[in-house]
Symmetry: C2
Subunit: 173 residues, 2 copies
């Protein structure tokens, strides 16, 4: 009898331990699943959503492009964005154009300089359920994706744009 109880306790303990391990793994998978690690193909041919200029520590000039699903959703003001939506943000350093300024006769012209990064938001409400249905991606110009610590900063910030389904960029007419 006593040995049966010990066996039961051992089994229960094992079950809890296994359960915890599964929970931890599931959490890690959720986090990992939220990061897109492949550059979506053909993005440079996508249509324009808008442009953006960030100062502060970014000093970036960028273009925001969308695949066909994204462009249709934006134009039809469809919220939340449907599965299959991909939004690409192409960032470059915000760089004065000496060439243009010479023509204008004054310092007024800024153009995209060195590419700094490309970021994507991919909508898949099942796969990325843990992060509002969006998978996030960040790639350096040489194609390396952002590390896990960096990628964990995407969702908490985008989550603040709840009214527009976590997307900051509005469509430029």
């Amino acid at each position: 009898m006593k040995s049966s109880i010990i066996a039961l306790i051992a089994i229960a303990t094992l079950a809890v331990a296994v359960g915890s391990t599964i929970a931890v793994n599931a959490h890690a998978d959720e986090q990992a699943a939220a990061f897109v690690t492949q550059i979506p193909s053909g993005y440079r041919d996508w249509r324009l959503i808008s442009v953006a200029h960030e100062e502060g520590s970014l000093h970036s000039l960028g273009a925001v492009l969308g695949n066909d699903v994204a462009i249709t959703a934006y134009r039809e003001k469809k919220l939340p964005y449907p599965d299959g939506t991909i939004i690409a943000a192409l960032h470059y350093s915000h760089t004065p154009s000496a060439e243009n300024n010479q023509v204008f006769g004054q310092a007024q012209s800024f153009v995209p300089g060195t590419p700094t990064n490309i970021q994507f938001m991919v909508k898949d409400s099942a796969k990325y359920a843990a992060t509002g249905g969006w998978g996030f991606a960040h790639f350096t110009p040489d194609g390396k994706h952002g590390d896990s610590a960096f990628m964990k900063t995407c969702f908490p910030c985008h989550e603040k744009a709840k009214a527009t389904d976590l997307v900051f960029t509005h469509y430029a007419p």
Copy 2:
């Protein structure tokens, strides 16, 4: 004999007068021909060439798009641009985004505000021979094209970009 001479002089004078009129009309036509007065259809679906930020008296944030001929020429670094090239510059006011700045916790974000104008360069080396093969267009957001005095300022400025076939915008990778 005398009347024949007078008749000849009269004919010659008439010929010179007609010739001058043709020359004047031809010049006026050349000027008029350099201005594109129809908005090229479908331009908002064209692919991205680059983005631009102008300060000074412009305060504009813009996107530069190209039709298929333009995109191919840019990617293949083909100069001069072939006939059929159309480049579109969509300009908006350079506007702080209160919405984004609230999320960032500081004033750093600028987005396209009110559309200010759309400009086009259309390559047709025969039709626009007088202006380097380019026809220029400027439209207000309500579709009115720039007046003749304004349009005469396009070519003298673009002419300064001779090394890149009168085009200022470089392709953003």
